[in-house]
């Protein structure tokens, strides 16, 4: 059985847009939102994506819409949290 998708990733035209979106989303207080390298099983023209909690999908997309920060696609993602305190240790494809 496929693991539940606890995150979504938002795809952008370029890193500039992804990081701008991260800035907006973090400033708005959405937890665990951050730019991560594009997971291998997701097709994107850009090397990074913005990952946010699945439950925040609607709020985040509304915020980006409001700020005119356009995205290209939204994809579900299951990612295991290894250590909340240290994002660098997050598994990219935690099954």
């Amino acid at each position: 059985m496929a693991p539940t998708e606890n995150f979504i990733v938002i795809l952008f035209d370029s890193t500039n847009h992804a990081i701008r979106a991260e800035d907006l989303v973090q400033a708005a207080g959405f937890k665990l939102a951050r730019v991560i390298p594009t997971p291998r099983d997701i097709s994107s023209d850009c090397g990074v994506v913005l990952r946010v909690l699945a439950e925040d999908k609607e709020g985040v997309l509304e915020l980006l819409e409001e700020k005119g920060a356009g995205w290209r696609d939204v994809v579900g993602l299951h990612q295991k949290i290894i250590d909340v305190e240290d994002d660098i240790k997050w598994g990219l494809h935690g099954e």
Binding site: D13, S14, T15, N16, H17, A18, I19, R20, E22, D23, V35, I36, P37, T38, D45, C46, G47, V48, K67, G68, A69, D87, I88
Partner: protein, 384 residues
């Protein structure tokens, strides 16, 4: 010792600028927007901070409308060559720096250049634009403030005429961004070109352009094509902002410094910086007007004057004054034509030029007083 050459580049920089650049080199170092690892993402965050801060200071909501380059000249070339191509007409003023007039001259004879003539203090009547603008006009490009004598152009009036005629209004903000408030929306500016190392207090080698929200970037082709880190599968350059105008690796450590400089300005406020520089300028102009033999080429009208002032001392060459100021008084000035021969023609100071003092937000009133004493001494020694 006094550094009065802030119009060439500001010095000193706030300490946070050096710290930010060192931090980038020591702890971040990676290429922004190219790789997915955390150091590259962190470099991207540095670039974004600079982009957001520039957008804020120009009052543009979307930071993607800020495209970085090497300096104001680089962006002015992108804009002027892009908007004009090989034909049409451009309108500019006689107070322009070579960063505007040389790219325009490069495009002759395909294009035609009209010049708004300024008076002996660099002032222009906005109505003159009405006389020159026509259906053939492709761009109006104006120096926000003269790097020779500090006169501030009536940009809102000029931009309003350009807007009414459907012509893009381009601002050369090299001398003003960071020390004179600029509001792209209020002032109806379509494109503003800026440099990072003057009043924005960043390092040399970083600048850019800001596209106003009403300007359609589809009407402005890019100057360069190359790697952007985006759409790597395509052999053609992407057309979305800011990547469209940013080819090749950015000066990310320069942007780290620029973001820090902008942070300093935001905290201190442009209004405070403008007030400080205006009070130094007034102090100098008041004192200098009492020195016999000293001829001022800048206006005492504070509303239309930056902290850049030009003068001559009758009977002494500019280069001699500059050398005496430097060697005997430790005062750094700039003498000559300041890359703006056309402006000196307007002021009546061509080809000899002027001595220029440009005060910065870190100069002190005592330094101005010492410079006035030095000039008094130089002027009176000439009479003996």
């Amino acid at each position: 010792m006094a550094y009065f050459d802030n119009a060439a580049t500001s010095w000193p920089k706030p300490p946070c600028v050096k710290e930010a650049i060192a931090d980038f080199i020591d702890n971040i170092g990676a290429n922004p927007g190219r790789s997915g690892h955390s150091q590259s993402i962190e470099a991207g965050r540095v670039v974004n901070r600079a982009r957001v801060a520039v957008a804020d200071i120009f009052n543009v909501a979307d930071p993607m409308r800020v495209a970085f380059s090497h300096n104001a000249t680089h962006s002015l070339n992108t804009v002027l060559r892009g908007l004009l191509g090989n034909d049409g007409e451009a309108i500019t003023s006689s107070m322009e720096h070579n960063s505007v007039i040389r790219p325009l001259r490069d495009l002759e004879p395909g294009i035609k250049i009209h010049i708004i003539e300024c008076d002996e203090l660099g002032r222009m009547a906005p109505d003159a634009l009405n006389e020159l603008i026509s259906p053939q006009t492709k761009v109006v490009v104006i120096n926000h403030a003269s790097n020779v004598n500090g006169s501030i152009a009536p940009i809102r009036e000029l931009a309003s005429i350009a807007r009414d005629n459907g012509v893009p209004f381009v601002l050369d903000a090299a001398q003003t961004a960071g020390s004179v408030p600029i509001d792209m929306k209020r002032d109806l500016i379509d494109i503003a070109c800026f440099t990072g190392h003057k009043s924005l207090l960043g390092p040399m080698g970083i600048g850019g352009m800001v596209l106003g929200e009403d300007f359609d970037e589809k009407t402005l082709p890019r100057l360069l094509a190359g790697g952007t880190g985006s759409r790597s599968e395509l052999e053609t350059h992407p057309d979305f902002l800011p990547d469209k105008y940013e080819s090749g690796t950015l000066n990310a450590m320069g942007l780290a410094g620029l973001a820090a400089g902008l942070g300093y300005i935001q905290e201190r406020t442009i209004e405070d910086i403008r007030e400080k520089e205006a009070s130094l300028t007034k102090r100098f102009l008041d004192g200098a007007s009492n020195i016999s033999g000293l001829v001022l080429h800048s206006s005492s009208d504070q509303l239309h004057q930056t902290s850049v002032v030009s003068f001559n001392i009758t009977g002494i060459q500019q280069s001699t004054i500059g050398q005496l100021l430097d060697e005997q008084h430790g005062i750094m000035s700039r003498v000559g034509l300041h890359c703006a021969p056309m402006a000196h023609k307007a002021l009546g100071t061509f080809p000899g030029g002027t001595v220029r003092f440009s005060f910065g937000c870190f100069n002190k009133a005592e330094q101005v007083d010492r410079a006035l004493e030095a000039l008094e001494q130089i002027a009176s020694s000439n009479k003996k």
